[in-house]
Symmetry: C2
Subunit: 211 residues, 2 copies
């Protein structure tokens, strides 16, 4: 099936079957789509926390808009972004890229200097707004990959970010949670949205053509 067919196939599942787990192989593919996501300046400013432990999932529930999905899905993928830009984080990415590409050390120095001049002069809040936007590219690609594998999912923003950050100890990784992706297999009897038509605004309202 093509990407467009897969996107038409998927929907945001409202109830998961707690008995059906997603294989590790497929979870890896879903995460791999996010890892391959393009990001601003190639900095990969976000990470994925893969929560399969039932006890941990239940600790994350408080304040979630879909508490049952959190508990009943197979894996909760937490998309978390850098809490700020630092010179160290920027250098680490470009040092690694330089090494992997077998380029002379310092090849990207003038570029990373530009990035530092921009980001290190902005407040952490503004930088986090920027890093968290990048994570949505990864979220979209992971949702598409799940659809290709015919695995159900639901993206979610409605949760207690502070609680999730604390329980997953994200601060020590320099991360803050942004969004969740519930992954699993739908419980068709309780997934009330499944029989409903997928609705999107018409093409002509979605696009403005400048010819």
């Amino acid at each position: 099936m093509s990407l467009l067919e897969n996107l038409n196939w998927r929907h945001s599942v409202k109830a998961f079957n707690p008995e059906k787990k997603v294989s590790q192989e497929n979870i890896e593919k879903i995460i791999e789509a996010a890892r391959l996501a393009p990001t601003s300046s190639g900095l990969q400013q976000f990470r994925v926390i893969n929560v399969s432990n039932q006890e941990t999932k239940e600790k994350l529930v408080a304040g979630a808009l879909n508490p049952d999905s959190m508990k009943e899905c197979s894996n909760v993928l937490v998309f978390a972004a850098w809490d700020n830009y630092t010179a160290e984080r920027i250098d680490k990415v470009y040092d690694y890229t330089t090494e992997e590409r077998d380029l002379p050390k310092g090849r990207f120095d003038s570029y990373t200097d530009q990035l530092k001049a921009l980001y290190l002069n902005q407040p952490a809040e503004e930088n986090f707004a920027h890093t968290s936007r990048q994570s949505y590219i990864g979220l979209g690609l992971s949702l598409a990959e799940a659809a290709e594998l015919k695995i159900d999912s639901c993206p979610a923003e409605g949760f207690n970010n502070k609680l999730v950050d604390e329980i997953l100890e994200l601060e020590k990784h320099g991360l803050k949670s942004v969004s969740l992706m519930y992954v699993g297999y739908a419980d068709d009897t309780r997934d009330w949205i499944k029989p409903m038509k997928k609705v999107r605004i018409p093409r002509n309202e979605f696009v403005i053509d400048v010819k």
Copy 2:
């Protein structure tokens, strides 16, 4: 090719061949991927402006980090998000959904009341930060669709948003520009990044496993 193969195939092209245009059929498919993107509460808070007119592209160039790409690519897709939430915008989406699903009028009233209570009490700036994040889901899916079609692309944030908003008259549509996607065919002789290895941080640094 699978989505993961397509994501490995693509890269952010640094130089386009100005002679090679993307067919309208393929542009429609690339935009369709964004139209099918899931968004927070299903509100589809963003639009795509499809700029193929050369004169308009050249007007958008000032302040762009990749001015040549802007001029030489086939189409510039501008991802633009709602400048704010309004009761009218929220109702329009849900009225349409209700109609398309043949549900009783007002079926989603309690849900839209919740959305309004949340968003209409937040400053426009905070709401725009939220709507613009959603547009990155669409951007990611459009990049993936282009890769599936073996069409080259480059996402871009570095441009003069205010100028783009003015030239495309986005204010009258209640939109503000967020990101660009240059679409076309690479000029392999000038696309310096093409021969380089695609680099992403290793899986074990990208993922935190909570088992």
